[in-house]
């Protein structure tokens, strides 16, 4: 039994899988420095992220379970949850040991948990397709601020690029201090050079109410049927933590 310490990156996680087989270890628990507690009896192996080895594992994985399932595994990584990462590591090891068949064995805890995390991240991805609210700014750029539970920007990039092909836009994740910027040609990842004071990207400037914000609020209010009022169901669908970034709900906070 070994404690595997990795740097928290996806390549690091894949390198850990590589090391596990290269070193012929029997059992390993994946941890990061942040979650690691030293214990006297378990030896520690520090995983040094290696792009070539990570790539080999990733290609092998794609060959075993197919492209779409491996993409699903990447989404589990984006949960940023140490427990998910641990299950994901075990899961990938299991696939190499037992073959792709094992991904259908829901009796196995790692298989089930990976599936559950994938579902959670996927829900958040879908939510952000819904809850992004663009402001139309004077420069012609459409801007939106989001604060998703998981790091889902990479998962919604194609959707927004395909849909809003004729308008430049910026979607900024305030929790992770980076954004996606579309300039009518391609989508780039943008980062404020100094995350602590947003010197490049002023989040306040990303909000801009205009007449259509008012029309939207009017529409939202009047399409409601008050005889069917059901706030519990309402909050279930639109949890309070998202309201701040939704013009139709922000006033209710």
């Amino acid at each position: 039994m070994y404690n595997y310490l990795f740097d928290g990156s996806f390549e690091g996680l894949l390198t850990a899988v590589y090391d596990y087989f290269a070193l012929r270890h029997q059992q390993a628990i994946l941890q990061t420095d942040a979650t690691f507690h030293t214990d006297l009896f378990t030896p520690t192996h520090r995983v040094i992220t290696n792009e070539a080895n990570a790539e080999r594992v990733w290609e092998g994985l794609q060959k075993k379970v197919g492209r779409s399932k491996s993409y699903g595994l990447f989404t589990v990584y984006l949960s940023e949850d140490p427990i998910a990462h641990r299950h994901l590591f075990n899961y990938i090891v299991l696939v190499f040991q037992k073959g792709a068949e094992v991904t259908f064995d829901y009796r196995h805890d790692d298989v089930l948990q990976v599936e559950n995390f994938a579902k959670k991240v996927n829900r958040e991805r879908h939510r952000m397709k819904a809850f992004v609210r663009f402001s139309s700014t004077p420069t012609g750029l459409y801007t939106a601020v989001v604060k998703p539970d998981f790091n889902i920007l990479p998962l919604i990039k194609d959707h927004f690029q395909n849909r809003y092909a004729d308008q430049p836009w910026l979607i900024f994740d305030v929790k992770r201090h980076y954004g996606l910027y579309y300039d009518l040609e391609k989508v780039d990842t943008v980062m404020p050079s100094n995350p602590s004071n947003h010197s490049d990207i002023n989040v306040g400037e990303l909000f801009n109410d205009d007449e259509y914000t008012t029309y939207w609020k009017t529409y939202f209010k009047n399409t409601n049927i008050s005889a069917r009022k059901n706030l519990k169901l309402h909050r279930q669908h639109v949890p309070r933590r998202y309201w701040k970034y939704l013009p139709e709900k922000a006033d209710s906070l």
Partner: protein, 417 residues
């Protein structure tokens, strides 16, 4: 900001909201030539305080109407504020809402002013302007106007993703009593035109791959529930007939909310039949996805669904001979019939059992409602049971469990005021 537009929006959104259809999936329109929008994602962008999804800009072109349907808020004899959008107003609201990611597209309905064709022609102009001038590839749901010409309706089908026309009431007699100018025959005729054209285009696509799409998300209709005394059997049989004859994608059930004083219908201020509406949707799902036949859910001796328990559990209690189902050996179709097991968990069971017999602790983690399902299934470590439990007893035990677990108790979904 234009105050007149705000006022029109308030009136014409308010008048359109009793049409409950909100679907925006089922069509795969691509964004061509770097234009605006696409369809297929089926996104609910927001939810109103009643818990209903907001996915389309759902408005009437106008609430002026020459008809006097007793269940409709916009009936001719009602003293309500009237308004009408211009073609340009609807187009710019749709485009600008869409650009801000507020909506998936437009749901356009209308009161009938002057005559059916005049109204339909205006609606068609909006849809054509969106598609041809604005290069808009988002979702468009178009209501067709009863009595409009075949020419206008089939032309609209070239631009809309979905078209619909409402049956309103489950039976012709019900409709005739409250809306003498309307008839189910009009509905059938228009659904039939669109259906025939859809088949024609499908044939054409077999030969010419790039033949234009025609109503790619199909047709739907709506039935108002609880305005007139029809039974659930009447409603579900009617829905079934229309699903079969016109290949409808959806039938929507809309619990009647009294909007007019009328002695033939529930009084103003009475609660909409929300639980009954929910049971109808559950039945509709059982028929479309779970392999149930409408005749199994309602029968002449059991014409109304049980409001206290869901229709699947209700069916199970009426058919004890079907159970218990052994999840380790039974076919998928049988597992789907176990109360507490849904499509996802049934698939997981089928998938997992290839690797070994399933025990209770494993089933518990697969996402099924074990407490409910346990009375209807067998698994590797099922407790040995002498004789079968009385369905009446099971019903009481399950209902008791629901009362304790208040989160699941349906009546809590009703508002207190």
């Amino acid at each position: 900001m234009n105050d007149r537009v705000v006022e029109k929006l308030a009136i014409l959104a308010d008048a359109a909201k009793y049409d409950v259809s909100c679907a925006s999936s089922g069509s795969k329109r691509k964004n061509t030539n770097k234009g605006l929008g696409n369809t297929g994602a089926g996104i609910c962008h927001s939810y109103t305080e009643d818990g209903r999804c907001v996915s389309l800009l759902k408005i009437l072109l106008t609430n002026y109407c020459i008809y006097d349907c007793a269940f409709c808020i916009s009936r001719k004899s009602n003293d309500v504020k009237r308004a009408a959008f211009t073609v340009e107003e609807v187009v710019s609201l749709t485009i600008n809402f869409y650009r801000r990611n507020y909506i998936e597209g437009l749901f356009l309905s209308s009161g009938i002013f002057k005559n059916a064709d005049y109204t339909m022609e205006r609606m068609l102009r909006i849809v054509k302007k969106l598609r041809l001038e604005e290069n808009f590839n988002g979702y468009i749901h178009l209501k067709t106007i009863p009595g409009a010409s075949e020419e206008l309706i089939t032309e609209a089908g070239l631009y809309a993703d979905r078209m619909s026309i409402n049956l309103e009431l489950p039976t012709e007699e019900g409709l005739k009593s409250l809306a003498p100018e309307k008839s189910h025959e009009d509905v059938k005729r228009e659904l039939g035109w669109v259906r025939a054209k859809t088949l024609e285009f499908a044939d054409e696509r077999k030969v010419i791959k790039r033949a234009p799409a025609f109503v790619p998300a199909g047709q739907s209709t709506q039935i108002v529930v609880g305005a007139t005394p029809e039974t659930d059997l009447d409603i579900l049989y009617t829905a079934h007939t229309y699903y079969q004859n016109y290949a409808l994608k959806r039938v929507y059930y809309s619990g009647y909310i009294p909007v007019n004083e009328d002695s033939r219908m529930p009084a103003l201020g009475s609660n909409p039949p929300i639980i009954r509406e929910n049971r109808l949707y559950q039945s509709d799902w059982l028929i479309r996805f779970y392999g149930f036949d409408v005749k199994e859910l309602v029968t002449p001796t059991f014409p109304n669904l049980d409001t206290a328990i869901d229709p699947k559990l209700s069916w199970a209690l009426r058919n004890p001979h079907f159970f218990p189902v052994d999840v380790n050996t039974a076919p998928y179709e049988a597992i789907l019939r176990v109360p507490g097991i849904g499509l996802r968990s049934a698939k997981k069971i089928i998938s997992a059992r290839r690797f070994g017999k399933l025990h209770s602790w494993q089933l518990n983690k697969l996402g099924l409602a074990f407490n409910r399902a346990q009375y209807f299934m067998r698994y590797a470590d099922s407790p040995i049971q002498l004789g079968e439990k009385d369905p009446q007893v099971i019903r009481e035990v399950i209902l008791d469990g629901q009362r304790k677990n208040k989160n699941n108790f349906p009546s809590l979904q009703l508002s207190l005021f």
